[in-house]
Symmetry: C2
Subunit: 423 residues, 2 copies
Amino acid sequence: MATLNLDELKSLLEVTNSKLRDLEKLDLNVDMTRGKPSFEQIRLSRDILTNIDEEVFDRNPNIFNYGIGDGIEEAKQLFASMLEVRSDEIYVGGNSSLNLMYDTMLKAMYFGMVDSNRPWMKEDTVKFICPVPGYDRHFAICESLGIEMITVDMTPNGPDMDAVEALVKEDASIKGIWCVPKYSNPDGAIYSKETIERLASMETAAKDFKIFYDNAYAVHFLDGEFIEQESMLEACKNAGNPNRVIIFASTSKITFPGAGVGVISANRESLDYMEKLIAAQSISQDKVNQLRHVLFLKDFDTLLEHMKKQAAILKPKFDIVLDSLKSTVADERIATWSNPRGGYFISVDTYPGCAKKIEEECARLGLKITKAGSTYPYYDNPKDNNLRIAPSFLGRSDLVQAMDVFTTVLQKIAIEEMLKNEQ
Amino acid sequence: MATLNLDELKSLLEVTNSKLRDLEKLDLNVDMTRGKPSFEQIRLSRDILTNIDEEVFDRNPNIFNYGIGDGIEEAKQLFASMLEVRSDEIYVGGNSSLNLMYDTMLKAMYFGMVDSNRPWMKEDTVKFICPVPGYDRHFAICESLGIEMITVDMTPNGPDMDAVEALVKEDASIKGIWCVPKYSNPDGAIYSKETIERLASMETAAKDFKIFYDNAYAVHFLDGEFIEQESMLEACKNAGNPNRVIIFASTSKITFPGAGVGVISANRESLDYMEKLIAAQSISQDKVNQLRHVLFLKDFDTLLEHMKKQAAILKPKFDIVLDSLKSTVADERIATWSNPRGGYFISVDTYPGCAKKIEEECARLGLKITKAGSTYPYYDNPKDNNLRIAPSFLGRSDLVQAMDVFTTVLQKIAIEEMLKNEQ
């Protein structure tokens, strides 16, 4: 991409401002803040709503009663195939993996984990490593529970492992790290084999160090191709740290957001410990919904076919975003962005000091985008230079308009800031 | 009921022992430990499984996506009518009220409640009052979280309020009380207006004292008649303690156990506080299941009609238990029992020191009953004299056999114990 000189920037700013005056007249009112599937995607799973007929009902009496607290066997098998673990390494939870992550973190604080000497909350300080940019809801869990967050930079292969290794080796108050290993939120990074093996085997001052492994997008490819990834649980076992990782996943973006099925996977010893704590909390999760999902998604191959249909809807939307950025942004200093192979987001790095202003100006024009700073703990991005684009929910024509506004605003604010710095 | 003399007891024991030898040959293998609905009851709600058709699906797009974290409006209205509160005093949760109780208690420990000076766990000791006999899963929550349990006796009108008032007035470490206000587990007590008003207005040393009000059986009558009960939330408001009560309920024993809908009701200020904490934990509960329930149960009158069908299945089973006790137990010292108008249990008070032996002897004969002592905190019933009968799950013929075993064993063990004490 080109690098424009001062005059070129000034004349581009004029063109951009003129375009903005036109876009103001659009009177847009659209919301791109969250990674919500569209109704078209949700419709793909409609058969799940009616797939328990009289015959299924009569054949599975135990599904409709109390008990089977860790989930039905068929659901364990399905999720085991998706997460490449054994089916006895699966706990099938309720409708939300976020809930499972929060619950697990709160239990770690209140009770400690299987290999803790005492509850985490009894330590003077508890810290978690948050690769940035990252997922705001992970940060919100830490903030709510009083866990201090330390950032390390993301790379295309995962967190900056040199930085991670140096931190965890020295500081015993660092109890864990948040990871989204495939198509990470928001920058779409895919953890490499080396990253996974280093996370599994690194020396940690805290002997009960935990990897909170949010495999939210395990099968959420955009290009139709399922990516095999080194198993983190296997890697931890091989490194002699079998209880280090707790894996979370759900079908929220496979079937129905909010009415899917969430799961935990971990080493059996860890699961035993957690399930004993859960016994005071829950008699059983919603096994009827588990059965619905098993009947609908059937097996891993059928699941992948289903995800290809999701990708066919999502891919053109990602292309709209990427094409719009590519065709508008005229200088590489204005912005760079991720080009993800899956997941739900495109991460845009703007000229420093621009992200908040862009968010505000977009809002003024009727376009809500994810809050600037939300990809950093405490909404504190020191460079104020990262924004998350969530293309999934909007219809294509709305998305085209939204991106027209976004890229124009992005260019305007960035050039203004660049010119200010030139003076 | 008669009081037998020594000779009569001895001869009755001989008859009983002889009958037991016959019952041994039955080779029974039945489980009466839990209050599980029968499949016949569950079948009553089968239409819920398929009541979201294409038209409903298209008309309610937001139900199938993220958001609406506190539940759909129609569900709030339905549960408000059931619990006699306002619909804006309802939070619609996941599949389990037990989960909501555990979560609320853990949040009280970790964060404190809306009117707390600090998290409960920062106090030297946290105590809860547990009316006995009571519900083992309430006790398990306290035990798991390290909350000390203090017992008070139940009366037919609710907890012994003189004892409760004396305790909470003096001891600021008592942070709350467990209540099952209607058809209480296990003795079927119905809290009187006076009990409710005294609970709402009593002076408590802890200013953040909480009534955990598990209204599990609000509409679970056996005799077809819905019982109006003073509203605890209103009573608390009237007494100037609007945040004192947190009400829990679910449809687990209305529709599907484990695949129903759980709710919290509380004063708006309390709910605001709790929902702010929940925001870090959950984006939304399963609104699809909420919609299913609204479409099926429709309104309070339809709900009551549904509960009449449940009662028609349950009542004959309770009668089998009561008839068996009445026709077998020949001396009032051997056992007395509750005669509930609703709920899921019959509470049997045995001759002191017999409950554990009865449980063991029943187990030997192939009949599992609820663990003796489980109606007391820490499984510690000082008199060893209370057992809980759960008639709902078994088919009628199994139940007749089970009660034959139970009453015979009950009589045998009690007479042996009485004779021992006479020597």
